[in-house]
Point group: D2
Chain length 284, copies 4
């Protein structure tokens, strides 16, 4: 795997932006591998992702912020830099359903997900065997009725201790409190088992079955304080018919959930996702 | 085109049903072309579609009801018979958007839609040119504020005069009254420009754009008294991205609407659709 | 899981078939759960799948053949009966790529694949860890240059000893000999990593990349003596773009291969697949 | 519709490219609406599409070539400039099937296809009514056995007289000669009724039906001297099953052909397509 850097920028759209960025990178002899930009015409917003090879780059990343500051402040940029040699640390939250976890573990082990995985946290014991099979630390932490506040305090402590960067809710069946979420803004990825905004909330497959829809869906999104309302990263659907029972919906849906969640996690890890106006840009 | 008959049956599921129907058809020397059945395990319902060639069939269709009556009443069947030599009479309601109308007209003219088309009714003049190009009668009937009751009375009179069997709302922008709908139960097909139940009601593309969904959809359904809540016949989706403006959504959506509506109309015409429990079975 | 029986029939299409079968099942008080039939108009062939509950069925399955024989011979039927209480025994062949194997193992473990899995056979050691994680016997058997005949002899002996019913080639990179295949006609399922018949043979992703296709595919099929030419059970595709490198194609393709192969295996296990004229009917 | 300019560039990948282009556009006060670039890592090629508003642009497009020349020659660029106020002139070739023509005509009339349409050329009279309905000139030109050379000479003369820029073969059933094609390199768009490279050549639906594929496809591509081998612009597929007869394949395929061809034509008109190495980049 090549050593690269990714720069993500968002700012008000204005003349001279691209020239200034390109000039800056040229000056430090960046060998650009990918560059992609997006202009939101309505909001007059400019968003950019640029990735370059570290080999030959003449600027130490430790000095990047200082060197880039004049451009950033001139154009009013919000920006972040990612260094591919530093793997983000991911925690997975899971309950009893194990299909998403199994999929993430396989992809982690195969190297497809470029991250560390220091912990799997669950309110049940059911998936411990999977964590064991892949040699990932697993911690069971029951969430009792009226015990959520306590549980979340413990969870946050664990995440802090393990220097976790972001969370994946792999069919985790507890609703996180607004307070918890505020610790990881746009850094908690959830898979919802419907094509949002249809069937937000509980038991989406049951309601899809009752409504008689002809396609079922799954949605990977960042978690915000409003349930199932955060910025959507990825969605996909599968065709069903009257021949499909509720159980068939749940089974076909599980396959959707796996691929949608894994794409969302992968794109997050590849620094392809930028959030604005409760939406995402996914640079491809 | 072959001359065929289609029998559609629904009744409580019970032993001996298939044997009785098969025996009946055999006795009259039906040459069965297609037979398809569905059992709803939860509701304990049996639904069937069987199509046979009229050539060689030894029972006059005029006598079918009498001959079939003993079986129908023994099993408590709801049934209907369709004779392919009798083309249903379709009316199309349209407003200003013409993409669905253009698509239906082309398919009608090419013989893909096996029906008569005695009238296009519109509350605007915009699509008259299309009706003229395909030589279909077009009637403009303005629906004034507070004039819906009056307008619907006129519409119903026209439909009655022309012996119209069913209606297609090809992006007709007026909400029909419950009273109007009661004249054509499960015989009004609407295209809604979203993946229902997401974004029911007005301006679905605007709301999809705002929500930042990654797929847009279209839904063909029978119209019931509750807006956008009738039995779904067909749905489909198309992928969009942050690069798509609201206008792009509307344009990509138009292509979806066309194919979804035309499939719904075609299946209705082919007597493939059975409604139960506010859902459809679409025999394929 | 309910105890059921599945009857699969193919024979020349003729009057009275359905009535005779329905009458037979009624007589033995079968509670039919699903029945599906297909008529190939061109080949004048009739194909049927019927599944009924064993609870309440008045005929011992051991006596089925004898009882059904008069009908079978009257209509010239080819038929087979499957008893859901008897799980088929599956062997998986694999080489170095482990994504399909991981997917099959997870589905096997979760109960989605209703079978026994007595052996994983591989010409490499690479996937042993996965077999171990799921506690499935793994046997390494190198296939040396000029040693295929010898290796196949050993493989066949193992399969015979373990009473294996059917084989799944989960990205097994050796071509099986015609002689080997003849032992398992329509009982070896392969996943080919292209949308057959495009890019049959070696290195399909490389060739798809060179040709500049806009979709890549995967094909699950029964293995016949002609390479990549057997009856297709399932296919699916994924969209790619100029942004996708050859490596991206291979990664996206892996996800396709998994779902296509698992569907093919599942349908085979559910006795949904009937082969005729080098095609399949997949009853749904 | 806004007045814009599009610049398409391809050249060897090298440092300073983006900076030079951005600097040039900034200097002439271009208000950039969209910019997209692609680097082919294997071929070390840089491809770019940039679109800006003409309002406020300080360089007359008549002087663009001269002003841009120093940059173009410094980096060894192949480039072209498109002015949105100049609509390309399209000719449609058609035989008897009219579905693609009907679709193109509707999209042309609705303003979706931003072009002139001075002529429809056909070797049959069948589609004249459609041309008439949309008031487009139609010319019938029989192509006799052994008369292709003669016919092509006439066709070329007509195209020249009408200053046609590019051709669309909307299910035109004659193979164009290499000599003819050389007059319009990468300017003839064909729709092939299969998922190329599967089933290239004649009767693809028949062969797809025989092979028992589970998906059918359509391919929009530029015509080159090798039949069905030109750069692919767009492809799509639709699911079929054993229930679909050959006729069903042809009908479902027609819907695919329409959308795939219209996308290819639209992208060509929007100057989104760049050809290299017998592939396309489609900037989105």
């Amino acid at each position: 795997m090549r050593h690269t850097a990714v720069l993500l920028i968002s700012c008000p759209d204005q003349r001279g932006l691209v020239a200034a960025i390109a000039e800056f990178l040229l000056q430090h002899e960046a060998n650009i591998l990918h560059a992609d930009q997006h202009q939101d015409a309505e909001l007059k917003l400019f968003l950019m992702r640029v990735e370059w090879e570290m080999a030959g780059f003449k600027l130490d990343l430790a000095d990047f912020a200082q060197a880039f500051e004049p451009i950033a402040s001139r154009f009013g940029m919000t920006w972040r830099l990612a260094d591919s040699s530093r793997k983000p640390r991911m925690a997975v939250f899971v309950s009893k359903f194990d299909h998403c976890l199994a999929d993430l573990l396989y992809r982690y082990q195969s190297g497809e997900l470029h991250c560390e995985l220091p912990i799997i946290l669950s309110n049940h014991e059911d998936t411990r065997w999977l964590a064991d099979a892949y040699h990932i630390p697993f911690q069971h932490l029951a969430v009792l009725k009226d015990g959520k506040e306590e549980a979340e305090k413990t969870q946050l402590a664990i995440l802090r201790d393990l220097k976790v960067d972001f969370l994946v809710l792999a069919r985790y069946m507890q609703v996180l409190s607004a307070d918890f979420i505020r610790h990881y803004p746009n850094h908690i990825i959830n898979i919802h088992h419907s094509f949002l905004p249809a069937f937000h909330g509980a038991k989406p497959y049951h309601r899809a079955f009752e409504r008689g829809v002809k396609l079922i869906g799954a949605t990977g999104h960042y978690v915000t304080e409003t349930l199932d309302d955060g910025p959507i990263i990825e969605q996909d659907v599968a065709r069903i018919s009257h021949r499909d029972s509720l159980e068939d919906l749940i089974n076909k849906g599980a396959d959707l959930e796996k691929v949608v969640l894994s794409r969302a996690v992968k794109w997050h890890l590849d620094n392809r996702v930028l959030v604005y106006a409760n939406k995402t840009v996914v640079f491809d």
